[in-house]
């Protein structure tokens, strides 16, 4: 059946692209009608907010709306960049993000490769299933567990006090622990889930090549390094591009739940700053400007890493 599909498609497309608009509407009006709700949804909930970005250049007042608010040019952006917290927010965003990205990807790939060495299928499936479990737990519950475990007599604190002899305190009130708490809780939650994509890419690894290499005397490490890893390299590159594109979008969900003013110096990131300034202090124009800065840098990073990956690794997502 799939062969018939591929043979038929080019002809079909040629025939259709030759048809006039009138014929297209007459033949496909039903299809367009089916798409209409989605179209309207996208206009309202995706494209209207995009036009709403103009508020980044306004002293926006909800009562006056997008058209009536006073235009202030780049004042909101200048305010953000000249803020005392700006370097700190940018640093936190980058460190939390790069730490999560690098440690997260390396551990997911390592986990995939180690799991791949297990030949007992039932055990392998079991490990995989258990490793996804934390991903299904809500951010609120994760935050609750972090707060409980790192409180002054929580189990993580108890462990660290007895093993490393750190001072007994609530770990979430000490700025120097936040990056690690965030990193390890993220790793705990995401390791299994982020390995799914690499595990499925292992299907591309050529078994014949592996066997031939084994016969030629390549050891396990050499086979993994020279055959398995190159086979999943396109997937790794794709994930890297996507992750770099969202480098500034540190998930604010968990941080918003667990941070507090005593650790803003290490925990405040761009997205939490936007949420706090916009929704609590109602500085709409300013927060929209910070959000826009975030999106623009994200898009530049995405295009840049895509370009580099196409040049260097011959893989790109667009």
């Amino acid at each position: 059946m799939s062969k018939a599909t591929t043979q038929k498609l080019p002809q079909e497309q040629k025939k259709r692209s030759g048809t006039s608009w009138k014929r297209d509407i007459r033949y496909n009006w039903g299809v367009y009608l089916i798409y209409l709700p989605v179209f309207v949804y996208l206009i309202i909930f995706n494209y209207l907010p995009m036009f709403g970005i103009v508020m980044a250049f306004q002293n926006f007042k909800p009562t006056r709306g997008f058209l009536g608010s006073e235009w202030v040019g780049f004042a909101n952006f200048i305010e953000f960049f000249s803020r005392g917290e700006f370097p700190q927010i940018l640093r936190n965003t980058l460190i939390i993000s790069v730490l999560g990205l690098s440690v997260g990807m390396v551990s997911a790939i390592l986990f995939t490769l180690l799991l791949n060495e297990i030949k007992f299928t039932g055990f392998k499936k079991g490990v995989q299933t258990i490793s996804y479990m934390p991903y299904f737990i809500s951010a609120v519950v994760i935050a609750g567990m972090i707060i409980d475990f790192t409180s002054s007599n929580g189990i993580v604190t108890n462990f660290l006090v007895s093993v490393f002899g750190i001072k007994r305190e609530s770990l979430l009130t000490n700025p120097s622990y936040f990056w690690w708490i965030n990193l390890f809780s993220g790793l705990w939650q995401g390791l299994g889930y982020s390995s799914i994509i690499y595990i499925s890419a292992l299907g591309n690894v050529s078994q014949e090549l592996l066997e031939a290499a084994a016969i030629d005397g390549a050891n396990r490490l050499q086979r993994t390094w020279n055959i398995t890893l190159p086979a999943i390299r396109p997937t790794i590159a794709t994930m890297l591009i996507l992750n770099i594109g969202s480098l500034l979008n540190v998930g604010s969900d968990k941080i918003l739940l667990i941070y507090n003013p005593t650790i803003y110096s290490t925990a405040d990131v761009i997205s939490t700053h936007v949420a706090r300034m916009g929704l609590e202090r109602m500085q709409y124009g300013y927060s929209a400007a910070v959000g826009l800065f975030n999106s623009v840098v994200g898009t530049i990073l995405l295009i840049g890493s895509n370009y580099l990956s196409r040049k260097l690794a011959d893989t790109s997502i667009f």
């Binding site: 496909n28 609120v140 609750g144 918003l256 929209a288």
Partner: protein, 294 residues
């Protein structure tokens, strides 16, 4: 591939299997600890410094009695069920319709697809979306948790790819018999993409069950409309158990608080943990499908 069991291979296997078992323990232990704590005597619990492997002290279900008879938790549960059901239903229907329409060979196929993909790469951001939703009258309105966010470009693309796998001869012969696109979608194509619809439904259920942020900004003052996650946030994160402990003033408050927190965690997580062993294979499928490039 048949592997010879050399001594180094045996050592590697032992280490590898142990590592994997350790990893599983690390994944499960925190949740298990809380489950055990929720049945443990809070006083003995306080004196136990490490991870629990079993119930300590005299087993008790007192925490669950307090939590499950609490009106807030019941309201939260009811609201969450309503939100999850309606948002999932609406999302699945719109995603299927969108994916089907974009998979057909229309003249607007390309521009409409690009318009959709653009929303995945660039968004207005939190604040402009908030202002738009506010102007639509969604502040304090339960529809705020159902309509915005029910469509995700990524899911529509997955659906579209799935519809494109179906041979066009099905549609052609149905058209010759005089069937319209809706008939074709419902009676011919939908049964063939059931598995993909299941993937989308699973994603939507988990996402909506766990969602808390939209509720916290759109329904801030409407406690009667809060989903379970917001009540859980109040108890677990903001450490505000007075709504629960007020009735229990007689007992030692801080001890009961901890017990209540553990029970709330379990009550709020159990449904999703019961679903997940079945859901996970759909998730694996979804992630894999999403990886397919155009």
């Amino acid at each position: 591939m048949i592997e010879k069991l050399t001594p180094s291979r045996v050592v590697f296997n032992i280490i590898n299997y142990s590592l994997m078992i350790l990893l599983c323990i690390v994944c499960v232990a925190p949740v298990w600890h809380i489950l055990m704590a929720s049945f443990s005597d809070p006083r003995t619990m306080m004196a136990t410094p490490g991870l629990l492997s079993w119930i300590v002290g005299k087993p008790t279900t007192e925490g669950y009695r307090i939590v499950l008879s609490n009106p807030s938790i019941i309201t939260g549960y009811r609201n969450t069920l309503i939100y999850v059901t309606s948002a999932t239903l609406l999302g699945a229907i719109l995603t299927t319709m969108g994916g089907f329409a974009l998979s057909r060979n229309t003249k607007l196929k390309k521009p409409l697809t690009i318009m959709l993909i653009f929303t995945m790469m660039f968004s207005g951001g939190l604040i402009p979306s908030y202002i738009v939703n506010m102007n639509l009258g969604l502040l304090g309105n339960p529809l705020a948790l159902i309509i915005p966010g029910c469509i995700n470009g990524f899911y529509i693309i997955i659906m579209k790819n799935s519809f494109e796998q179906i041979s066009p001869s099905f549609e052609e012969s149905a058209r010759l018999d005089g069937a319209g696109p809706l008939t074709i979608l419902l009676w011919i194509h939908l049964p063939l993409v059931k598995a993909t619809v299941a993937v989308i439904v699973m994603f939507l259920v988990v996402q909506n069950w766990n969602s808390w942020f939209p509720a916290s900004i759109y329904l801030t003052r409407r406690r009667d409309l809060w989903p379970l996650q917001l009540f859980m946030r109040e108890i677990l994160v903001q450490n505000d158990t007075k709504m629960i402990s007020a009735a229990e003033a007689a007992s030692s408050v801080s001890l009961v608080n901890n017990l209540v927190k553990h029970c709330v965690t379990i009550v709020g997580t159990l449904p999703i943990l019961c679903v997940y062993p079945f859901a996970q294979k759909y998730f694996v499928k979804g992630v894999t499908l999403g990886g397919v490039k155009e």
